[in-house]
């Protein structure tokens, strides 16, 4: 019942936040943050093994479902607080809560068509709402409508392709006629099985915005608040990939990935891995670095479709949840840097880490988590995914791929260690200041005066509190990168 409760609370709070965000933004955000915390409590209380029957289908909560719900809702609560601090119309918490509801239900259900339809229906809110309401360059920006339109079509289109693939696979022309994974000795069945797998990979590519289908994703990420990116891409894509991977592994079986299919999948993955990594290296604005790094993460996860072995699927689960948690922290860092210093290009951010040591510390933790070290769940998952797809050269490729975030995140870190530039110097430092408290009678006033001074103190320490929020997310990312997600 915890699963049902979690989904109900998340979808109720999410829809309430979305509907009231235009007329009562503060109340909507309060509902959203309270909903995130309630979902976190329910997720923490959820047993690792729980099953129920709804609509003729079993729903089973697993450590993965619980881990994803805990990590996403905890991160979302912090993102909601950051949204309060940054200001503007709330566009992050509501769609993300709907996303949590459909993702947990979709990962728990044993009916893949239900999962794909629900994920597409719930996931599109994460694109449409920030796209139409939270465009940073203003509502009249010429790229706003086309980008949101393409993004919505990509998310819904991935669901349509996924549904078509599932339906076709179960049709008389599909590979499931003799049961899951059976009859693959027949060339016709093998061909049908491979085509079904490739169709699902295409759906994943659409949903994740993989290269060469990335144009809308790149425009979207540069247009909206970085806080909206994790729900739309990191978590939303992760849930879709996990459902697609589960269907491919359980219904098609490992033999569906023949030589040709594997080569095509690895080629598509390498395209995103290499070009996404290079794009993150050459871009100077932090939103693009964030976006292309998420795209690169999805490219690594795609390698799981090239083998479909159970241990590789487990590695993909660990990889997707851990990398989404890390990228949530990175998105929060990007949003806070942008809100604090106004700039988002590296040339304008010289000395940001010196000026705000807490942000610097947070970024260092995120850097370690994103690159990983041997023995950490994230590093091992990446190594397993790459080695399974490219036996022989896997170790070398793993090091090369791990070096890419070291370079593009290292550039940001080195900018932070440079002498403090003019744009950064005029921004708030992020060091605690209690002037508001003293002005309100901190030392001599009554308790009521001190309580009254709290809002002013909070406003005066906005930058410091935002930096602490990023630090909390960075620690969470580091912990998930070390421990994984029960994959």
């Amino acid at each position: 019942m915890n699963l049902l409760l979690l989904a109900s609370v998340a979808i109720g709070a999410g829809l309430a936040t979305i509907f009231f965000s235009g007329t009562k933004p503060r109340a909507a955000l309060a509902v959203g943050i309270a909903g995130s915390l309630a979902v976190l409590v329910v997720a923490l209380a959820m047993p690792t093994e729980e099953s129920l029957q709804i609509g003729g289908v079993g729903l089973v909560s697993t450590p993965l479902v619980r881990g994803m719900a805990v990590a996403w809702s905890a991160g979302l609560a912090v993102l909601g607080l950051l949204e309060v601090a940054i200001g503007g119309r709330p566009t992050v918490v509501g769609p993300a809560l709907v996303g949590i509801a459909v993702a947990t239900a979709a990962l728990a259900t044993k009916d893949p068509a239900s999962s794909v339809a629900a994920l597409a229906a719930g996931g599109v809110a994460g694109v449409v709402i920030p796209g139409l309401s939270g465009w940073l360059d203003g509502p009249e920006s010429p790229s706003r409508l086309p980008t949101t339109s393409r993004g919505s079509l990509a998310v819904l289109g991935s669901g349509l392709i996924g549904l078509a693939a599932i339906g076709w696979a179960a049709s008389p022309a599909g590979p499931l006629e003799g049961g899951a994974g059976e009859g693959l000795g027949d060339p016709g069945v093998r061909l049908a099985s491979g085509l079904a797998l490739l169709a699902m990979v295409v759906a994943v590519a659409f949903r994740s915005g993989l290269i060469p289908l990335h144009v809308w994703a790149a425009r979207f990420m540069e247009g909206v608040s970085p806080l909206a990116i994790p729900a739309a891409f990191a978590w939303g894509s992760a849930a879709f990939v996990l459902v697609a991977l589960d269907w491919s592994q359980v219904f098609l079986g490992p033999d569906a990935a023949g030589d040709v299919e594997s080569a095509l999948i690895i080629g598509l993955s390498l395209l995103s891995l290499v070009l996404g990594g290079l794009a993150a290296m050459v871009h100077d604005d932090i939103e693009h670095v964030l976006g292309y790094s998420i795209l690169q993460d999805a490219g690594i996860a795609l390698l799981a479709f090239a083998s479909l072995e159970p241990e590789v699927a487990a590695a993909a689960r660990n990889w997707l949840v851990a990398s989404a948690t890390v990228k949530t922290g990175l998105a929060a860092w990007a949003a806070v840097v942008r809100a604090t210093y106004g700039g988002h290009r590296l040339e304008d951010l010289g000395g940001w880490a010196r000026h705000s040591p807490v942000l610097g510390l947070s970024f260092a933790a995120l850097l370690v988590a994103a690159i990983g070290l041997p023995g950490m769940a994230l590093f091992d998952a990446r190594a397993s995914l790459i080695s399974s797809a490219m036996p022989g050269v896997g170790a070398v490729v793993t090091i090369l791929i791990a070096a890419m975030p070291a370079i593009y995140l290292g550039r940001i870190a080195s900018a932070g260690l440079r002498p403090i530039g003019q744009a950064v110097a005029v921004g708030p430092s992020g060091r605690p200041k209690w002037s508001g408290g003293r002005a309100g009678g901190w030392s001599e006033g009554t308790r009521r005066d001190i309580v009254r001074a709290i809002p002013a103190d909070l406003r005066a320490n906005r930058a410091a509190l935002m930096a602490l929020g990023v630090l909390a997310l960075a620690v969470m990312g580091l912990m998930t990168a070390v421990g994984g997600a029960g994959g």
Partner: protein, 228 residues
């Protein structure tokens, strides 16, 4: 074959043709509503009352959202005209019937032409029997309606200008895929029916929100134009 099912398929096609081709902004959502409600009823036997209710509510909600978005936006209609769209829909339906017959022949393992007997098509899913000489089974009609909607909706969805016509195209394509999923792989379980309804409403909501934003942008760009 049931004449009622054939009539429903004809109503679906007619409604969809009206939705994509009419110059009257108010008529398009009505045509869409006919197509979507017809799709909800296209089953033999009909599903249980709660599931039927979910389907019809989703269909009407989707049409309502499109109706809301159609107000005030620029007029959009098919450049081909309704006769061409009707012919396209007919061609799509015939292609769908051919597809269904082909799948049925595979399912019974004959290789050509429809024959008797059911065939397993996947774990837990079954295709109804196809008596000799019988082409218009309920599944075949479902596939025909799906391909017909797919043909009508694809062009406005992919190549149409942003606005209500693209939203209608998106909803028609979504309904088409949902029909094809049932037509080729058998009935959905109850949970999937709910997810499918949510998906259809999400498609309509997304299309309506984008169309409304386009209408606002259009009104801002041409402040002297009255609503369409």
């Amino acid at each position: 074959m049931s004449l009622v099912l054939v009539a429903i398929v004809l109503a679906i096609g007619a409604g969809a043709v009206v939705a994509v081709s009419t110059r009257d902004a108010a008529a398009a959502p009505i045509g869409l509503a006919v197509a979507l409600v017809g799709s909800a009823l296209l089953a033999d036997p009909l599903p249980s009352a709660p599931i039927l209710g979910v389907r019809i509510v989703a269909a009407l909600l989707a049409a309502t959202l499109i109706r809301w978005a159609a107000r005030g936006g620029p007029r959009q209609f098919s450049p081909l005209g309704w006769p061409s769209e009707a012919l396209l829909a007919t061609a799509g339906a015939v292609a769908g019937l051919g597809l269904a017959v082909g799948l049925a022949s595979i399912s019974v393992g004959v290789g050509a032409g429809p024959t008797d007997g059911p065939g397993p098509i996947g774990p837990g899913v079954g295709l109804p029997s196809l008596p000799t000489g019988e082409v218009l089974t309920s599944m075949a009609l479902t596939v025909a309606a799906g391909t017909s909607l797919l043909v009508l909706g694809a062009a406005p969805m992919v190549h149409g200008r942003p606005g209500v016509r693209r939203a209608i195209g998106l909803v028609l394509v979504a309904q088409a895929v949902l029909l094809l999923r049932v037509g080729v792989a058998g009935p959905a379980v109850e949970l999937e029916e709910i997810a499918r309804a949510a998906f259809l409403v999400a498609c309509a909501g997304t299309g309506a929100a984008l169309a409304h934003a386009t209408a606002v942008a259009h009104a801002t760009a041409t402040p002297h134009d009255g609503p369409a």
